[in-house]
């Protein structure tokens, strides 16, 4: 028997047994759809995190006070020990290091802000104008021009905060109080929404020297550095570490991390997660395979007489095996196609329902789903097909 004829004959058989075809197709389609939808969820989570990190700024190198116990962790910040201060002078010394495009010292703290009789607890950032460029923040109205100091007592308000304190929209030029200090509003940030669980619309930014005075500290929380390019990140990191270690009398009591390293760690974790989820979804394909095997075994016993007849007409065992394998191949292919349709539209509706989550199926999902469906189909029909090919023709023919 020629391959082309076997393909055609098995297709003819498949469409003749509608209920059987529908059952197998459905099982396969659901398995494939599960792979596509679940991997797009995993991929969506990965993209979500990557986007969140990108919104922090590009080519970011961050200096933290304190020594990292293990590389890649968040030292100091978690342990709480601050052996030696990271000072404004430390920050200023970075200006001349190769690969540093700009840097911004950063202090962060909670404080109360009051204006026009309204009082609120806010997160206050103290930094320089560079931070706005490094973090990719946008000022909707006004300006922020602070340098390392001394600076005038200017303040920029988050969009929501400005709205709350000055509902009339006339925030620029107004006076606000932070503790017992008075600041003049010189700018309002553009509304940005959440980023890393931190609502930039509810913060305020003042010059770093004023923040240090307000919080009564000499120590910086972070120094943010923007490297000149992606390839400059690692050399810059090393140079910054060396320079600061030198300044601290040869003791490496600071930690320099790159956003890139954190990001790629998350990227790896979430990609692994996506594969794991795909594996779990593939289990549903294995279940589909068991169903296919059962349905095909029933088909073989229902068509015993037909198999006997084909043998009497001169079909070899190989011919019979091929016919049954091709039947499931057809059904697996059709099931995979239907499953892709269901899966991709499922992912589409997921994106509609949760616009924040970019649930696009990864490029390998479709291929993996089809390959798994085909392999499942072949493996599942192997036993029934072999059983059919081994049937004794005399017994098969005598069965009604």
């Amino acid at each position: 028997m020629k391959n082309k004829d076997a393909i055609f004959l098995s297709f003819h058989t498949v469409v003749s047994y509608r209920l059987r075809a529908f059952l197998i197709l459905l099982a396969m389609a659901l398995g494939v759809a599960a792979v596509v939808v679940l991997t797009s969820l995993g991929e969506g989570a990965r993209r979500f995190v990557v986007n969140q990190f990108s919104s922090l700024g590009t080519n970011l190198v961050i200096v933290l006070p304190g020594r990292a116990e293990t590389s890649g962790g968040f030292p100091g910040a978690l342990v709480g020990e601050t052996p030696r201060d990271l000072t404004l002078e430390d920050a200023a010394s970075l200006a001349t290091i190769r690969g540093v495009r700009r840097y911004a010292p950063l202090n962060v703290g909670a404080t109360e802000i009051s204006a026009g009789g309204r009082l609120r607890e806010i997160t206050l950032l103290g930094s320089t104008a560079n931070m706005i460029a490094i973090r990719g923040m946008k000022i909707a109205q006004g300006y922020f021009a602070a340098n390392n100091g001394p600076n005038p007592a200017d303040i920029v308000l988050g969009a929501a905060l400005a709205n709350e304190l000055f509902p009339l929209g006339n925030a620029i030029g107004q006076r606000v109080r932070l503790g017992d200090r008075r600041f003049r509003v010189t700018g309002v940030f553009a509304a940005q929404g959440e980023s890393m669980g931190f609502n930039t619309d509810e913060i305020a930014l003042i010059p770093v020297d004023h923040a240090q005075a307000l919080f009564n500290t000499q120590s910086l929380f972070r120094i943010l550095i923007e490297a000149e390019s992606r390839s400059a990140i690692e050399p810059t990191k090393a140079a910054v570490r060396a320079a600061l270690t030198l300044r601290h009398d040869g003791e490496e009591d600071i930690t320099v991390i790159t956003q890139d390293a954190i990001l790629s760690t998350f990227d790896r974790i979430l990609t692994a997660l996506t594969f794991a989820v795909a594996g779990i979804a593939a289990i549903s394909l294995a279940v589909a395979g068991i169903l296919v095997m059962n349905v095909m075994l029933v088909a073989v016993s229902q068509r015993t007489a037909e198999i006997g007849l084909l043998k009497a007409l001169g079909a070899t065992g190989k011919d019979i095996k091929r016919l049954f394998l091709m039947e499931t191949l057809w059904l697996s292919l059709a099931g995979a196609a239907a499953g892709m349709g269901i899966g991709y539209s499922g992912a589409f509706f997921l994106r509609l329902a949760y616009p924040q989550l970019p649930a696009y199926p990864p490029h390998w999902a479709g291929l993996a789903a089809i390959a798994t469906a085909l392999i499942t189909g072949i493996v599942a029909s192997l036993l029934p097909a072999i059983r059919a090919s081994k049937l004794d023709p005399v017994l098969a023919l005598s069965k009604k």
Binding site: M1, H12, E306, L309, A312, G314, A315, T316, D319, L397
Partner: protein
């Protein structure tokens, strides 16, 4: 052309042995018209299955056109079956989802004949068996006689040298049975060796050579 020497076929059922064929010796020259009769269980179908290579003898030698076919592999036997032997059964054994023409086409597909040639040959055979107007009907839409004619057309489309019929009229009434017999005899006149197993004395006596079986043995063999 068919030569069976010392052919036996034993079945073991539990601890007892059924001797379906017991040391059979039989020579059938090409072009013969032969009937096999005998009581139920005498081994007629088993004999036919051995001749048709559907079953392997427990012992003995079977020469088909001077070739020892008992020693062939499964795939080689299938090829011999396809090219040299046609089967006709009491219960027709048509594939229910295929039309008459598609059923007849099956051996050509198995043989790997190209589609255009297949169509032409099926059309010719449909004409010979007077089934042209039934070509696109499924078996369920055909009468018993028509079904058996489709089965005969299918069995003979590759022009086999031997046609084996196991009670071909067993499920037919007298009139349609006679039509089927006429078709078989037409094939015999065309040079095909025809072997018919039957319970029908009248049909059996039409054959030129008549064999009687009992308990797996040939008891009479008359011309």
């Amino acid at each position: 052309m068919i030569s069976l020497s010392n052919i036996s076929r034993f079945f073991t059922m539990g601890d007892q042995e059924v001797r379906a064929l017991n040391h059979i010796n039989l020579d059938i020259p090409g072009g013969e018209y032969l009937s096999v009769m005998g009581p139920s269980g005498s081994g007629k179908s088993t004999l036919l299955n051995i001749i048709g290579l559907l079953d392997r003898p427990t012992s003995g030698t079977y020469l088909l056109e001077n070739h020892n076919v008992t020693a062939l592999s499964e795939a080689e036997q299938a090829k011999v079956r396809r090219e040299h032997i046609g089967f006709i059964f009491q219960s027709f054994h048509l594939v229910p989802r295929l039309t008459a023409a598609e059923n007849i086409e099956l051996p050509l597909i198995l043989e790997g004949v190209p589609p255009a040639e297949r169509k032409a040959r099926v059309a010719t055979v449909l004409e010979e068996t007077d089934l042209m107007d039934r070509a696109t009907h499924r078996p369920a839409e055909l009468s018993g006689g028509q079904r058996q004619r489709v089965a005969i057309a299918r069995a003979t489309i590759l022009k086999p040298a031997v046609l084996l019929a196991d009670e071909p009229t067993g499920n037919l009434d007298h009139k349609t049975g006679a039509e089927v017999v006429a078709l078989l005899e037409k094939l015999h006149h065309g040079g095909t060796t025809v072997i018919v197993v039957t319970h029908d004395r009248e049909l059996g006596n039409r054959a030129h050579r008549k064999i009687q079986m009992r308990d797996g043995e040939i008891v009479t063999d008359e011309k």
